[in-house]
C-alpha cells in the first residue's frame, strides 16, 4: 500500500463511478466557496463603510427587495440545477443500474459482524449455498446450510479480492448490529443493516491494495474493524480464487 497517496483532501479514486461523485463534490464546493466569498466580501465592506462615525447616520430603508430576490432565485436555480442535472442521475446510476448478468459480474456476499468483515464467495460451481442465521457458528462463519450441495464448495475469507475492470456486486448482511461498508477509494458507503440483505455494485479501474472500514458505530471494536481490499488483474484474481478453492481440499 502506498501511504503517500493519502493526504488532507480526497483520496485517490479507483472506481468507475468515482469521477462522477468527485465532480459533484468539487462542483458543489466551488459553488459554496463562491457564496461564502461573496457574503464575506459584502460583510467586510459593510463593516468598514458603514461603521459608526461622526457625520454618518444610518439610512432607514437603504435597498429595495429586488436585490435579494435575484440572489434567492439564483441560489434556488443553482441548487435545482445541481440536483436535477447531477445528483439525481448519478445516484440513480449508483443505486439502480446494476450490471447485467451478461457482463459476468463477480458476486460476493459481505458479512459484517462485531468486529470483522467476512467475504463469502461461491465455489467452483459458481453458485452460492443457502445460508440462514441459525447456522452461524465459529467454524461456519458464513452461516451455510451444509445440507445444500451448492454451499459445500463455497469459501469465506477475511480479505476482499476483486478483478480490475469488471463489475462487482456485493450483497451486504449483518449478523448483529448495524455496520457500514465503506471503501473511500471506491467512493462507496453502504450501511449494513441486520434483517436486510442490501446489494451494491462497483467497478474498480486500477489495481492496488486498499482498506475497507466500518463507518457506523458498532461497539467497542468499531475503530479497528478493517479489512484489506486487493484489486488485481482478472488473471491474478482467478488464480487467487482457484487457490482458495483448492485449499478446501475437496
Amino acid at each position: 500500500m502506498n501511504e503517500s497517496q493519502y493526504g488532507w483532501w480526497l483520496p485517490p479514486n479507483v472506481s468507475a463511478h468515482g469521477d462522477d461523485i468527485d465532480l459533484m463534490i468539487n462542483l458543489i464546493h466551488w459553488f459554496m466557496l463562491a457564496l461564502f466569498v461573496g457574503w464575506s466580501i459584502f460583510i467586510v465592506f459593510c463593516l468598514v463603510r458603514f461603521r459608526q462615525r461622526p457625520g454618518h447616520a444610518a439610512v432607514y430603508e437603504p435597498i429595495e427587495a429586488r436585490f435579494n430576490r435575484w440572489l434567492e432565485v439564483g441560489v434556488a436555480v443553482a441548487e435545482a440545477a445541481v440536483l436535477i442535472a447531477f445528483a439525481m442521475p448519478v445516484w440513480a446510476k449508483v443505486k439502480n443500474e446494476f450490471p447485467a448478468t451478461n457482463t459476468n459480474p463477480v458476486i460476493v456476499r459481505v458479512i459484517g459482524e462485531q468486529f470483522k468483515w467476512l467475504f463469502h464467495y461461491p465455489g467452483k460451481d459458481g453458485k452460492f449455498g443457502k445460508t440462514a442465521a441459525e447456522y452461524y457458528a465459529d467454524d461456519n462463519p458464513a452461516g451455510l446450510d451444509f445440507d445444500d450441495d451448492d454451499g459445500i464448495d463455497d469459501i469465506t475469507v477475511r480479505g476482499l479480492h476483486i478483478p480490475v475492470g469488471k463489475p462487482v456486486i456485493a450483497r451486504l448482511v449483518s449478523k448483529d448490529v448495524i455496520h457500514s461498508f465503506k471503501i473511500p477509494v471506491m467512493r462507496i458507503t453502504q450501511d449494513v443493516v441486520p434483517g436486510m440483505e442490501i446489494p451494491i455494485w462497483f467497478e474498480a479501474r486500477s489495481t492496488g491494495e486498499f482498506q475497507i472500514g466500518c463507518a457506523q458505530l458498532c461497539g467497542l471494536g468499531h475503530y479497528e474493524m478493517k479489512a484489506k481490499l486487493t484489486i488485481e488483474s482478472p488473471k491474478e484474481f482467478q488464480r487467487w480464487l482457484d487457490e482458495e478453492h483448492s485449499a478446501l481440499g475437496l
Partner: protein, 574 residues
C-alpha cells in the same frame, strides 16, 4: 391567577420560584454547568484522538479502571464520552440555554407580559430538566458506565448495551417532558399575553423564533418519546420492536422474538432529531437579529420575509428527516423525495442569513462585544449551512456520510453558530438582568480567542472528512488514510484545549462584573424593544405600568425623529 406575595423565603424566591426571570436564570446556570461538563468530556476524547494510547494528563490517574488502563483511555470509555458529549450538549446544554434560559427570561419581557401564561408549569419544566440531567450524569457511575451507542442510540447496538443506556432512555423521557411543557407555555404566552398594540408583525424577530421553536418541540419530541418507550421495552421487557430475527451476537443467538426493524428506530429518532437541529439554531438566529438591529441603528432588512422564512422552515423541517438515512438502503424514489425537500429547506435559511447580512448595508455600525459575536455568527453559520449542501445530496453523501465532514458541518452551526449567539445574548442582556456592565476588554479577549480556536477545531475536520476519515473512531491511526490526516486531528485537539482557556476571561468577567457597584441604566444600548422598558433588573411582574405598543420593533433612525431610536413603548408625537 392572582398571587399575593408576602415576603417570600429564600427557597420560594430562588429555588422554587415561579417567576420566569428566576427560572430563566436557573436554566441558564444549570445549562452552562452542563455545557462545561460536556466540553470536559470532549477535551478528554481529544487527548485520546491526538495521542492514542498515551496516558491522559491531569485526570488519567483519577479515573477508574473501567475507564483507563494505566491512565490511557479504554475504548469503552471513549464510546461513553462520545455518546454523552452529544447528548449533554444538545439536550442538557443548548436547548435549555437557548429556549429555557433566553426564552423564559426575554420573551415575557419583549411582549410586555407580567410572566409566562403558566408560571407553575414553568417551574415544573425546569425541575423535570434537572431530574433528567441528573439521571444522565449519574449513569457514569454505573458498573457498565454511561450510554455508549452514540447520541443517536441506534438499535440493535443500543438494545444490547449496558444499563447506562436504560438511564439514557429514562433521562430522555424527563428531558422531553420538560421541553413539551415548556413549548406549550411559550406558545400560549406568545399568542395570548402580548401587550396592547403588539400585533404579530410588530413582534421582535427573537419572539417569532421562539414561537416556531416551541411548535417544533411540541410536535417533534413525542416521536422520540415513543421511540424511547419502544427501546426501553426491547431492553427490559424482551420485545423486538427493533430487533430482526436471527441475530447472533458474539457467537450466540440472541433470545428475541424477532420481526422488528432497526430502521424503525432511525425513522422515529430522526423525525425528532431533524426538527431538533432547528430548535438548536432558531433562538440563536433570533438573538443575532436583535443584537444586529440594535447595533446597526436601522430596521432589520427584510423582516417580513425573515418571518415567513421562519414559518416555512418550521413546517418543512418535518419533511426532511431521512436525509440522515441515505445510506440505509433506501430506494431512489424515497431518496429523491428527501433530496428535494432538503434542497428546498436550504432556501429559507439562506433568506434569513442574507437578510441579516444585508441589514448591515447603509447602517451605522457599533462594535460592542455582543455585536462581535453576532457578526461572527454570520460567516460561521454560513459555513455550517453551506457544508450541509454536499451532505444533503445522496451521491456526495455516499463519500461524506458519517465522516468528520459531518462533525465539522453540524459543529459549525451549533458551536461558532449557536453558542456565539448565546454569548452575544449574555453580553447584550447582562446589563438588564444584573444592573451591571460586563468588562469590554475581557469580552474582546474572550471573543477573538474563541473565534480563532473555534475555527481551529472545526475547519480541519472538513479536510479530515474529505480525506475519508470516519466518525467515532477510538484510534484514528488504524486506517492508513486516517493516519495520513492525523496532523489535522492534532490541530483540532490543541485548538479545543485553547478554546477552553479562551473561556477564562468570560468566567472572570461573569463574577467580576457582579462585584461592581455601579448600576446600568434602564436602556444602555438605546434599544427599541419592550424588555428595555422595565426597571433594571426587572422586578416581579416586570413592568411598572402595563406597556402599550405604538410601532414596530426596529424603528431606528426614523427620518425626522429626535433621537436615532423610537422605542416601541413610547408614545411620541406622531
Amino acid at each position: 391567577m392572582s398571587e399575593a406575595h408576602a415576603e417570600l423565603g429564600f427557597l420560594r424566591k430562588y429555588v422554587f420560584s415561579t417567576d420566569h426571570k428566576v427560572i430563566g436564570i436557573q436554566y441558564g446556570i444549570t445549562a452552562l454547568v452542563f455545557l462545561f461538563f460536556g466540553f470536559c468530556l470532549m477535551m478528554m476524547m481529544r487527548w485520546q484522538l491526538a495521542y492514542p494510547g498515551e496516558p491522559i494528563p491531569l485526570v488519567g490517574g483519577l479515573l477508574g479502571e473501567t475507564m483507563v488502563d494505566r491512565g490511557a483511555m479504554l475504548p469503552n470509555f471513549y464510546n461513553q464520552l462520545g455518546a454523552m458529549h452529544g447528548t449533554i450538549m444538545v439536550f442538557m446544554g443548548i436547548v435549555p440555554l437557548a429556549v429555557g434560559a433566553f426564552g423564559n427570561y426575554i420573551v415575557p419581557l419583549q411582549i410586555g407580559a407580567p410572566d409566562m401564561a403558566f408560571p407553575r408549569l414553568n417551574m415544573a419544566s425546569y425541575q423535570a430538566f434537572v431530574i433528567g440531567g441528573l439521571v444522565m450524569l449519574v449513569s457514569f457511575l454505573l458498573p457498565g458506565g454511561a450510554a455508549s451507542s452514540g447520541w443517536t442510540s441506534y438499535a440493535p447496538l443500543a438494545v444490547f448495551a449496558t444499563s447506562g443506556q436504560t438511564f439514557w432512555l429514562l433521562g430522555m423521557l424527563f428531558l422531553i417532558a420538560s421541553s413539551l411543557l415548556g413549548g406549550i407555555n411559550f406558545i400560549v404566552t406568545i399568542i395570548h399575553l402580548r401587550a396592547e398594540g403588539l400585533t404579530f408583525f410588530r413582534l421582535p424577530f427573537f419572539v417569532w423564533s421562539q414561537l416556531v421553536t416551541a411548535f417544533l418541540l411540541v410536535l417533534a419530541f413525542p416521536a422520540l418519546q415513543a421511540a424511547a418507550i419502544l427501546q426501553a421495552m426491547d431492553r427490559l421487557a424482551g420485545t423486538s420492536f427493533f430487533l430482526p430475527s436471527g441475530l447472533v451476537v458474539g457467537g450466540s443467538a440472541v433470545a428475541a422474538a424477532g420481526g422488528g426493524s432497526p430502521l424503525l428506530w432511525q425513522h422515529l429518532f430522526w423525525f425528532l432529531a431533524h426538527p431538533e437541529v432547528y430548535v438548536l439554531i432558531l433562538p440563536g438566529m433570533g438573538i443575532v437579529a436583535e443584537v444586529i438591529a440594535v447595533n446597526t441603528r436601522k430596521p432589520l432588512w427584510g423582516y417580513k420575509p425573515m418571518v415567513y422564512s421562519l414559518l416555512f422552515l418550521g413546517f418543512l423541517s418535518f419533511g426532511v428527516w431521512a436525509h440522515h438515512m441515505y445510506m440505509t438502503g433506501m430506494g431512489t424514489t424515497m431518496s429523491t423525495f428527501f433530496q428535494i425537500t432538503t434542497m428546498i429547506i436550504s432556501i429559507p435559511s439562506v433568506i434569513i442569513l442574507t437578510c441579516l447580512v444585508i441589514s448591515l448595508w447603509g447602517a451605522s455600525i457599533r462594535f460592542p462585544v455582543p455585536m462581535l459575536f453576532a457578526l461572527a455568527f454570520l460567516p460561521m453559520f454560513g459555513i455550517g449551512g453551506l457544508t450541509g449542501l454536499p451532505l444533503g445530496l445522496a451521491a456526495p453523501d455516499a463519500f461524506l456520510h458519517d465522516s468528520y465532514y459531518v462533525i465539522g458541518h453540524f459543529h459549525y452551526v451549533v458551536a461558532p453558530g449557536t453558542i456565539f449567539a448565546m454569548f452575544a445574548g449574555i453580553y447584550h442582556w447582562w446589563p438588564k438582568a444584573t444592573g451591571r456592565h460586563m468588562n469590554e476588554t475581557l469580552g474582546r479577549i474572550h471573543f477573538w480567542f474563541s473565534f480563532l480556536f473555534m475555527n481551529g477545531i472545526f475547519m480541519p475536520m472538513m479536510f479530515e472528512g474529505m480525506a475519508g476519515v470516519s466518525r467515532r473512531l477510538f484510534d484514528p491511526t488504524i486506517y492508513t488514510h486516517a493516519e495520513a490526516a492525523h496532523g489535522l486531528t492534532i490541530m483540532t485537539s490543541w485548538s479545543a484545549w485553547g478554546l477552553a482557556l479562551a473561556q477564562i476571561p468570560f468566567v472572570i468577567n461573569f463574577f467580576w462584573s457582579m462585584r461592581k457597584e455601579e448600576r446600568a441604566e434602564e436602556n444602555p444600548w438605546q434599544a427599541t424593544t419592550l424588555e428595555w422598558a422595565t426597571p433594571t433588573p426587572p422586578p416581579h411582574g416586570n413592568f411598572v405600568e402595563t406597556p402599550v405598543v405604538y410601532r414596530g420593533p426596529y424603528e431606528y433612525s426614523v427620518p425626522g425623529a429626535e433621537r436615532d431610536f423610537s422605542p416601541q413603548f413610547v408614545k411620541q408625537g406622531v
